[in-house]
């Protein structure tokens, strides 16, 4: 079981792919209050990802982790980030064993520059299959949803589908 800290973008994508809750069975999942605020803002519009996150937080399947606000604000300012993205990068700086889950261009760029452990939603789905938390059919279905969403380049999803062996 690994420790993952996940941003708004990946929560939304994994919720759409209907594997977010499954991921909490495989890994310790964390967010920050800032990320929660960003996603839960969708509750007003009844977005399914927001309603799901609220439940997972209430059931403590995803936990909120504190972070030093001053450092978060510096990262926000230095890299022109929102509060949520800056907060997970801040946690990544402090807790070296935690893996950052983000599909946000800017978040990934900064994580790469500083050599922070980094994964995206596609890897999360494939790892769920490889760890027998979801079937091959489910993994294909979830990757298909991501493909349809259009967030990722098709060849990456195709590679991931090939890895479902």
């Amino acid at each position: 079981m690994k420790k993952l800290i996940i941003d708004s973008c990946s929560i939304i994508l994994l919720a759409k792919a209907s594997v977010l809750e499954r991921l909490t069975e495989l890994h310790e999942m964390y967010i920050t209050n800032a990320v929660a605020e960003e996603v839960l803002a969708g509750k007003k519009k009844q977005f399914a990802d927001a309603l799901l996150l609220e439940r997972l937080l209430n059931e403590k399947k995803i936990k909120s982790i504190p972070y030093p606000k001053e450092m978060g604000e510096k990262i926000m300012s230095d890299y022109n980030m929102g509060k949520g993205e800056a907060s997970i990068i801040t946690v990544g700086f402090i807790q070296k064993e935690i893996i950052i889950v983000t599909d946000n261009l800017q978040g990934r760029k900064v994580a790469k520059v500083f050599g922070l452990p980094l994964v995206g939603s596609i890897e999360c789905i494939v790892s769920l299959y490889k760890n027998k938390k979801i079937t091959k059919e489910k993994a294909k279905e979830s990757l298909g949803i991501l493909k349809k969403e259009g967030w990722f380049q098709s060849y990456l999803i195709d590679d991931a589908e090939e890895d479902l062996t």
Binding site: E38, M81, G84, R108, G120, G150
Partner: protein, 101 residues
């Protein structure tokens, strides 16, 4: 004291016609039609500006959403509509898989 102020502006006839047409279509006066068009235009202006900043790697997606005044989920939808995709590479994907194994 009123919180509205007078603003004088010279507008092309085509723009004035557009305001008049909007007022007629929406059954509102020209002032209200103009205000609506300005607000909508400002939102679209900000959306275009921050989509471009996100595309160029100048700001994060949540920052862009905050500046435009929409949710992150809505901003993601707008980014996809604008043809912006993840730049994740095969190597990054492979490294990510290793991290999770």
């Amino acid at each position: 004291m009123s919180d509205v102020e007078f603003l004088g502006a010279r507008l092309e006839k085509a723009i004035i016609k557009m305001v008049e047409k909007t007022a007629e279509e929406e059954h509102v006066d020209k002032t209200k039609a103009l205000k609506e068009l300005i607000l909508l235009g400002r939102k679209q202006f900000l959306l275009n500006k921050y989509l471009e900043s996100y595309r160029k790697g100048i700001c994060s997606l949540d920052k862009a959403a905050e500046e435009v005044g929409i949710t992150v989920a809505e901003m993601m939808h707008e980014a996809v509509k604008a043809g912006i995709q993840s730049t994740q590479t095969r190597e990054e994907y492979r490294n990510g898989l290793k991290l999770l194994s």
